[in-house]
Amino acid sequence: MAKTILAVDDSGSLRQMVAFSLQAAGYNVVQAVDGQDGLNKAKEKTVDLVLTDQNMPIMDGLTLIKSLRGLGSYQKVPILMLTTESSDEMKARGKAAGANGWLVKPFDPKRLIEVVQKVIG
């Protein structure tokens, strides 16, 4: 059965490219438009991996990670940040919040798939 990835980003074109790349590799992709939408969808569905942006309206990526880690069912689900932010300070904050990895935009589809495969198979 195909694994499900939750892609959270306020940019429609970015979500479209993430979905396009991951679906081509055989994954199901659920899309969310901001952190709050991502949190709601994570509660509704069983998700194998979360891929989230940082700077979003309503709820940012770090807050989403902290909220997900607070839910029993998401304590061990891998969460990757996909963001324009590349500073060591932001990466450290992401790691402290519970992120498992940091990808700086723009992403290369082949490398994204390699990372996803490494993390969830």
């Binding site: 970015l14 700086v104 935009k105 992403f107 290369d108 490398r111």
Partner: protein, 188 residues
């Protein structure tokens, strides 16, 4: 004419108010143009993205049909080792690489959108500052005692400080990409 009427203070207030009003109008136009630019850019990239995925889908189906056809009909012996098969295999790789590059390229819309959004927000902030200063300028009159003028100047200083704090809070969100290549990956 009294000494009070000769004071440059009211004129200074009027000039400040007029300058801020004019600046505010210019910034409104800049903001409106930026919003329209972002709207058109979003529409264009969304359409390009849709057409791109549709083209990719069609090419993938075409490849699959071709492979099915070759498998069903079998290859003529004279074609089995021909360069045409090699060309077909190479083309598949070329298509894959081009698709990858296009996906990376389309993501720069996200980066430019972030920059445009921030510029709109800063334009907005600058316009608010102009409007605040306009109100201060209109409030300046010849009858003001030095103490009242000092308070007015203090208030203007506070407005500037607030604007500075707003800019500081935004500076941590940055788009620093300088090249059209993909970003780094780090697993914790």
């Amino acid at each position: 004419m009294s000494r009070q009427n000769d004071s440059p203070v009211p004129e200074l207030g009027r000039v400040l108010a007029a300058l801020c009003e004019n600046g505010s109008q210019h910034l409104s136009r800049v903001e409106s143009d930026l919003v329209q630019t972002m709207f058109l850019l979003n529409e264009a990239i969304e359409k390009i993205g849709q057409h791109f995925t549709a083209i990719h889908q069609a090419v993938s189906e075409q490849q699959a049909e071709l492979e099915l056809l070759l498998a069903q009909t079998g290859l003529p012996a004279q074609l089995a080792d021909s360069k045409q098969l090699e060309v077909l295999r190479d083309l598949r790789e070329v298509i894959g690489d081009e698709v990858n590059s296009a996906v990376v390229g389309l993501q720069f819309h996200d980066l430019t959108s972030q920059l445009l959004s921030r510029t709109i927000s800063r334009t907005n902030g600058l316009r608010d500052l102009h409007l605040t200063f306009k109100a201060h300028g209109e409030g300046i009159s010849a009858g003001h005692e030095p103490g009242a003028m000092a308070r007015q100047l203090d208030e203007m200083g506070e407005s500037l400080k607030l604007c500075h704090i707003d800019l500081g809070s935004e500076s941590c969100h940055s788009v620093r990409q300088q090249h059209l290549g993909c970003g780094e990956i780090e697993l914790f």
